[in-house]
């Protein structure tokens, strides 16, 4: 009389597979979510950040400003700090540029004498208004949205500016 025991063995075998698939799914789905979580597009990365009173940025000049990254974890250390170039045109008109080159993200430097931003990596150059002057960058510098409120300059930042996500 083999049929009953055979069907029991078949059942156990299927149960074994089923339980393991269930277990793998119950662990696997959260694992995938955990790993790929950061890739989900969220807008909360961006927020308004104060760069201080506009008096710190003389009109007609371009200066480096730094701020603390709004989305941070306590162990970010020095990398929580971010720099940006603030160009005060006049009055309440500003331009705030990311330091990251539009080519491959190296930090561009401002040269007041030749009124150019220059990139050390592959020699990209930008004019003072951020537009592309020469070299490999495919576009001008990334520009932050800004706002002047109660005599202070605010910018909207919090993510690494890249071609697919320009600030």
């Amino acid at each position: 009389m083999t049929p009953p025991s055979q069907s029991r063995r078949g059942f156990l075998f299927r149960l074994g597979i089923g339980l393991n698939v269930l277990g793998a799914a119950l662990v696997g789905i959260p694992v995938v979510g955990y790993i790929f979580g950061p890739a989900r597009r969220r807008t909360d990365g961006q927020s308004w950040i104060g760069l201080g009173p506009i008096g710190a940025f003389p009109a007609g000049e371009t200066r480096l400003a730094t701020y603390e990254n709004p989305v941070r974890v306590p162990w970010d250390g020095a990398t929580a700090k971010i720099a940006c170039w603030v160009r005060h045109i006049k009055g309440e008109r500003f331009q705030v540029f990311a330091v990251n080159c539009a080519h491959l993200g190296c930090p561009v430097r401002w040269f007041a004498q030749s009124r150019l931003f220059m990139c050390p990596c592959h020699g990209g150059a930008y004019y003072e208004d951020g537009s592309r002057a020469s070299g490999p960058p495919p576009r001008g510098l990334f520009e932050y949205e800004y706002r002047v409120r109660d005599g202070a300059l605010w910018v909207r930042g919090g993510q690494l500016p890249t071609l697919s996500r320009p600030v």
């Binding site: 480096l64 020095a78 971010i82 030749s114 020469s134 993510q159 071609l163 697919s164």
Partner: protein
């Protein structure tokens, strides 16, 4: 030692063998016959790569005992390793030089097996696994550079993210996935640590096992003879015959040279470590310190140079399609040329291909060292104007020399060998361009030069051009 002195050792080994049976399992692998022709110095690179991998694992585990994988503490812990932990500097140095050596020796191995036709039938899978190993090793090199959490690491991540961002549609998500968040920060380093220390090494160990298993199972590639064509029907039988007629047991006849090579590469790494010491960390990874010119380690210098030299409009395509094509080609090699002639003497296309690739990569890497396209940011204050260019000049011309200096023309243009090489050297410019051409070039720029029209007064332009008009050989 006398035979009697060996008694206890022998009985202990016997005890172990009776239970574990490892000797019985390994002995056939060691004794397996290989073609006599493979006991060659050309066949040692694979074992040498393996020896370097073991060295990397050992030193890597040691470094992980002290290294702090947090954005806040990593840099300090590297300094602690360099200066305080006993032999910390040495282990860091060996790990660094070992990684360089591993990439280099592995590349030699790859070139050797390709030229000797070892990717052909029936060793296609061995080659494919080898390509995986190569890619994983480059992955280790890149992630390892990031763990050196200094300015180069920070901006290197910026470059990696910028490259990823060019992927159509998914660029944005890829960047966040790579960085573990919207920006390079604490979570980024932790990700790269896990990848460098757990994920890729795990894959590597598994793949190395498979690679060696395949080598043992199919046999080491015999020394290729011109005219001895590989066909699926006859190859294996012929190989077996050769091995039986004229084979030697792998250990110790062929293994002797491998052992010497392993010893030599490890000693070379140790020597480099002692002579040159650990590499970095360079500047603190503070993104607000922007006076930095990030540069990758040598294995990525060629890529770095390529990004500077590609015409901008080709770039996104090359960045996206290039790696797919290159890696795809590597995987397809055994299917494109899986049979036929094995000897490099009868494979001109293969030899030429290797030569072209090697020359291109080394030339690009050489350019990556010299960086002729990088502006010399200090030249305007640091490079002197050659005396012969100021002697006997009029005040207007001298004024022009000052404009040239102060407007930072020398960031890109050299004079008397000092200054950037991005633009043409200005020595002798007067013989190449007329006054009007010079004025137009300065005001409107063009051909990779920014326009200075808005930035120079007419008087300044006048003086500058007057000065340049005197620059003759």
């Amino acid at each position: 030692m006398s035979a009697r002195g060996l008694g206890p050792v022998r009985s202990t080994l016997g005890w172990l063998e009776e239970r574990a049976g490892l000797g019985g399992a390994i002995a056939p692998a060691l004794d397996h016959p290989v073609p006599r022709s493979t006991a060659s110095w050309w066949y040692v690179f694979g074992s040498a790569t393996l020896a370097l991998f073991v060295l990397q694992v050992v030193t890597g585990i040691c470094l992980a005992l002290v290294y702090v994988p947090s954005a806040e503490g990593a840099y300090q812990s590297l300094l602690y390793l360099n200066f305080q932990a006993p032999f910390g500097w040495f282990l860091r140095a060996v790990h660094f030089w070992g990684s360089n050596a591993m990439v280099a020796v592995m590349t030699l191995h790859m070139i050797q097996v390709f030229l000797w036709g070892a990717h052909k039938y029936p060793r296609e899978l061995t080659w494919i696994v080898g390509v995986f190993l190569f890619l994983c090793t480059l992955g280790m090199a890149f992630t390892g550079q990031i763990l050196r959490w200094d300015q180069d690491a920070y901006w290197g991540l910026g470059i990696g993210a910028s490259i990823a961002s060019r992927a159509p549609g998914v660029g944005d998500a890829l960047v966040s996935l790579l960085l573990g968040g919207p920006i390079i920060a604490g979570r980024t380093l932790s990700r790269f640590f896990a990848v460098h220390v757990f994920l890729v090494p795990g894959i590597l160990i598994g793949m190395i096992g498979l690679h060696i298993w395949l080598v043992l199972r199919i046999g080491i590639n015999e020394w290729p003879m011109p005219g001895r064509v590989v066909t699926r029907e006859t190859y294996r039988q012929r190989y077996e015959e050769e091995v039986h007629k004229d084979g030697v047991s792998f250990f110790p006849y062929a293994a002797r040279k491998d052992m010497v090579a392993c010893g030599v590469v490890v000693l070379a790494v140790v020597l480099c470590a002692v002579l040159f010491g650990p590499f970095g960390p360079h500047g603190v990874p503070d993104p607000t310190l922007i006076d930095t010119a990030p540069k990758p380690d040598f294995y990525f210098l060629a890529l770095y140079a390529l990004f500077a030299l590609l015409p901008p409009w080709t770039e996104t395509v090359v960045i996206l399609v290039g790696p797919v094509l290159a890696i795809g080609a590597l995987f397809l090699v055994p299917f494109i040329a899986g049979t036929g002639e094995k000897s490099w003497k009868r494979r001109p296309v293969a030899v030429l291909g290797v030569l072209v690739i090697v020359l291109t990569v080394t030339t690009l890497a050489g350019l990556g060292v010299a960086v002729p396209w990088s502006p010399q940011m200090e030249a305007w204050t640091a490079a002197a104007t050659p005396v012969r260019y100021v002697k006997g000049r009029t005040p207007l011309e001298l004024q022009g020399a000052l404009v040239l200096q102060n407007k930072q023309c020398r960031t890109c243009h050299s004079l008397g060998g000092g200054g950037g090489r991005r633009g043409p050297a200005l020595d002798g410019i007067a013989t190449r361009q007329t006054r009007d051409q010079l004025i137009r070039q300065v005001l409107q720029g063009g051909g990779n030069m920014p326009a200075y029209g808005k930035n120079l007064s007419p008087a300044e332009v006048n003086a500058l051009v007057a000065f340049m008009g005197t620059l003759r050989p």
